[in-house]
Symmetry: C2
Subunit: 464 residues, 2 copies
Amino acid sequence: MKLIKSIFAASALLTAASGMAHADETADSAKALIEKAQASTLGWDLVESLTTEIGPRLAGSDAEARARNWAVAKLTELGFTNVHIEEFELEGWRRGEISLHVGDPYPQRLVATALGGSIGTPVGGIEASIVRFETVKALKDAKIGSLKGKIAFVDEIMTRTQRGSGYGVAVQKRSSGPSLAAERGAVALLIRSAGTDYQRNAHTGGLRYDDAQPRIPAAALSNNDADQLARLLALKGDITLNLSMSSKRIGKVTSGNVVADVVGSEYPDEIVLLGAHLDSWDEGTGAIDDGTGVAIVTAAAKLVADQEQPKRTIRIVLFGSEEPGLIGAKAYLEAHRDTLDKIIMVSESDFGPGQVWRMDTGIAKADEAKADAILQVLRPLGVLPGDRTASGGSDVSVLSSAGVPAISMGQNGWDYFDLHHTPNDTLDKIDPEDLAQNIAVYAAFALMVANTEGGFHAPEKNTD
Amino acid sequence: MKLIKSIFAASALLTAASGMAHADETADSAKALIEKAQASTLGWDLVESLTTEIGPRLAGSDAEARARNWAVAKLTELGFTNVHIEEFELEGWRRGEISLHVGDPYPQRLVATALGGSIGTPVGGIEASIVRFETVKALKDAKIGSLKGKIAFVDEIMTRTQRGSGYGVAVQKRSSGPSLAAERGAVALLIRSAGTDYQRNAHTGGLRYDDAQPRIPAAALSNNDADQLARLLALKGDITLNLSMSSKRIGKVTSGNVVADVVGSEYPDEIVLLGAHLDSWDEGTGAIDDGTGVAIVTAAAKLVADQEQPKRTIRIVLFGSEEPGLIGAKAYLEAHRDTLDKIIMVSESDFGPGQVWRMDTGIAKADEAKADAILQVLRPLGVLPGDRTASGGSDVSVLSSAGVPAISMGQNGWDYFDLHHTPNDTLDKIDPEDLAQNIAVYAAFALMVANTEGGFHAPEKNTD
């Protein structure tokens, strides 16, 4: 037994040594990629082209279809394999126009924007008095029926944080606020934007109507205008507003995901999936959300392909219709459910162009040493170890929830919610050096994952 | 003769000594005012009230009339004397709506705003191709008739400077651009905003039609959108735009200046005139332009009155209709032309809330020592000596041009043109400490000028 054990041990040691040699080689290749990424302008060129030539790309719109064609042309031109569109349908929506005016004795216009998916008002608008709530919790605590004929105003502020954790709290008023207000009898909902800036831009974003409640129009005020309305309410408790919105749902429309591969040499059917989303809200040009993500994962995969063929396939998925609720991701899951076990890693770039400063994992404990080997290569780029709760990012969280291993590259989001979902999400907000750091991270990461001996596995359930 | 000269000299010395004692006393009083100003919230309360309760105050609008009533009520409540409105008429204008779209193959909306005073387009808009000029000089150099049927686009950038001197150059395209373009055959003019920000807000501001040329619609693009349009033109020389504007001139409307005095004890008919303007463009709430000015001069005069009666009268003039071209100032000049010689000093606060960092004079050389005595009191507030070319400020330059002495309190305008004439000109942009420094400067200045022995005189012609 001892002998056999020893042979086993020696064999394991040999394999490990060979694995380590492999790993060292891959690490060196990854370091070379990092240098190339920092010298390349490909990422910038891609995001400039997308945001200039297509501009805003609302889910299910003609512009989003043009963006898919743009992506297919670019990915083909860059030499990707298997470039194609996977179409799906969703409920379409159009923003229309909005006007919001304060009534006497303080007549003035306020800056607001419709929430994505909101119905419009009757022609001529809704005129009603305002009831203000400091938090969405306070709205929840209001009695059913207590807002009959009123406009509810949820004035909850968003807290600025590096990781964007203030958003999860702030977004409650936007997603669940409309139906909570309707359930209490309100005829419309206004919210303080889920955003951290004071540049007089209102932040749009999707709402979620509860089928059990009547649908009411819902809009976001800029932070400046939310302050103004709060001051007016402090002067005079009974403030009347006229809200007019021509937003509407337009029935079934077509969207799609764009897929492209760098085919692997040894395990071509095993997939390292890098995600981003092609659609954007319709008021900015979708530069930071998510033109940067499109540029980052595309440029990273192209840099790998130009240097060497990875052992596994690196797949780019540019999801459609992320903004209305991960519609493209859900379609991808359905279409690829039978081969999910072939996806050994997902990671998405969808948090702007801020530098990657931490790496979080959503993998088996046994694979943590492999992840750490990747982290060691990324350390000179300023990447810190993170936690073990990664979903991989917005769209791909649908895949990691279904049992696919994930790693999240945590970006500095300090300024992200100044711009997110506003007209002000434009190309000029991207720092080319930050963009290059992201591409360096993703290129090195993609190659190392693709070449990692034994691959990665999903986290054990109920751990941590 | 020698004896007589000596007696004269002794007498002059005595007078000077008595003047110096006076001056010392006034300087001490001014220093006490500075302390009080820094502890007072009156200025903040005024600008908060004006921008919240009235909001935007377009020249000749109902809102501007409400602002006059607001001012009369506030000034009366604060104990000013002789509070009244001096009405005048002007050509009214309404902004209406604007939409600007790029044609195929890059269909997208651009953010733009009508220039103040512009005519509208025909219903359905103007569809025409664009000709870009890097500077207004290049537009001037274009041949008469060479822009027939085109939209001219003057893409000249504005340079950021502490004193705002970039504005004088940048504003040329806005004021003279429309008629230069029309003279060359253009059907409309677009300009890059005369502004320094990238917050996706277009900067409005008055244009000036030359009566010899046809009037054409004119609008400003945000800097972000000017960049976008320039990039599109680089991709494809022939870009078509659709511009639709419902702006219109609406005939004679009423505006007015609001006047209020702190009556002097010794020379009540001699006036130290502190100016600001009540009107604002209609998209922001006119906080930095010029709610701060209204607050600064009002609070400064009130602080003086609360402490002591000045020897001369300190007069506040809150001008109407500054934005369309100093209309209120010209009306004031006409109404008070017979008593101009009684105004011994004008100074206006109309450059936002940035701290005062220099003092420029527009006075007789013989009075410079008196101005220096004032400067010495302001030095601990960070005020530097300036030059001798002061006009006193926007409206009051009409008075100094007519021979009234002036001193300008130069403010830090580094950020001013990020906000100026945009929707983003809102209360939150004002730093209360900066505001208090301005009020301290104006309070000390007003008292010292009011009490200065012998007063101030206009600069000699053709000096410097």
